[in-house]
Amino acid sequence: MMATSKKMRQQEPSEIEMLLPWHAAGTLNARDARRVDEALARDAALARQYAVIREEYAETILLNESLGAPSARAMQKLFRAIDAEPAGRPSASFNFFAWIAGFFASLSPRTLAWSASLGALALLLQAGVIGAVLMKNQAATYQAASLSTDEPTTRAPGPEAPPRALVRFAPEARVGDITALLDNYQASIIGGAKGGLFRLQFGNKPMTEDEVSSLISKLQNENSVSLAVPTP
């Protein structure tokens, strides 16, 4: 009986042994990763097992990558279904930001390292894009002002459209700050985040040109906003 029990204990994997796959995938916390590294350094059998695991890890990735991608049919089906949903279904704009927070949380350390390099490059490109957008908007604003003397003060795009703006949030803005801002302005995100700019809609009623200017100016002064420009 005791011999059986001893044999069973010997067959049971150790805690470190069970952590090896996560070590290979780079998803262990620093403490566990250090423990595994130390064990690998002093245990040759464990190191051999780890080599086997790294092989499994590589082949699992190859296998999954070989599965290809879904056809456009799946996306078309999804967006047809979404279009058929009752209007205003996704209620909370907070959740959109939670998704964004989750997106960054979901990246592995390796992916984050690569993303940081790409992000630096993207920032340079964004600077160019934002500059172009601002130049374009300035030209359009000037033209509208020169033609608007005899026209109603209600702003385009349509008499019933509530105001919209392209907003870039400050890098240090936290999800809570952004949520509070959206609540304060009764704003909802209706598009984004192309080039880091989100398209926001304010309330459900149209505003006069003066009201829109005041709103944009107030928005621009918010700590959590680094850029706000009106948009149709």
């Binding site: 996560w22 092989e55 999954n64």
Partner: protein
């Protein structure tokens, strides 16, 4: 939604496909998964990563799809999708090509073992995240992966490939 879909749909599709083993069904799955996300956006509280949440929904829907198919058909094809076909590699893999044999054996693992291997190696999920997706305790996650790897080694051994473990 387009951003979210663009970012995650391929991995969701691959995870679903590995579970249901049918491209058509896997494509239907991803539409259902993202539609659910659209509908249940209010329930997501940001406590876990978005990808973990998506994979958990995908898993639930894949298992439901498998159950539906099993109920509807109950034929050999459906049974193959839910049972461990452990002796397949022995027949199919004649070459001593470890990589190819490994991939073949990975597809021959039981659905339970396949999903845990994929979640850890391909989807880079931590012990806690796998526990959340699969709905089992963290210790079970660790032991299940250990035994999945052991099963993999047995399948490889059956094809004549010894890797020195276990």
């Amino acid at each position: 939604m387009q951003v979210l879909y663009g970012r995650h749909h391929v991995r969701v599709f691959r995870f679903g496909l590995r579970l249901v083993r049918d491209e058509q069904v896997a494509e239907d799955l991803i539409s259902e998964v993202f539609l659910d996300v659209w509908r249940q956006a209010g329930k997501f509280e940001g406590r876990s990563a978005v990808s973990t949440w998506l994979l958990a929904i995908t898993r639930y829907k894949a298992l439901s799809a498998l159950r539906r198919r099993r109920d509807a058909e109950l034929d050999n094809e459906a049974a193959d999708a839910i049972e461990d076909t452990s002796d397949d590699p022995e027949v199919a893999v004649q070459k001593k090509d470890t990589s190819e044999a490994l991939r073949k054996c990975l597809t021959s693992l039981s659905p339970e073992h396949r999903e845990i291997v994929d979640l850890v190696y391909y989807h880079e999920k931590s012990v806690e995240e796998v526990a959340e997706v699969v709905g089992i305790p963290e210790n079970t996650v660790k032991t299940r992966l250990f035994y999945a790897r052991k099963k993999l080694a047995e399948l490889l051994k059956a094809t004549g490939i010894e890797r020195g473990w276990p």
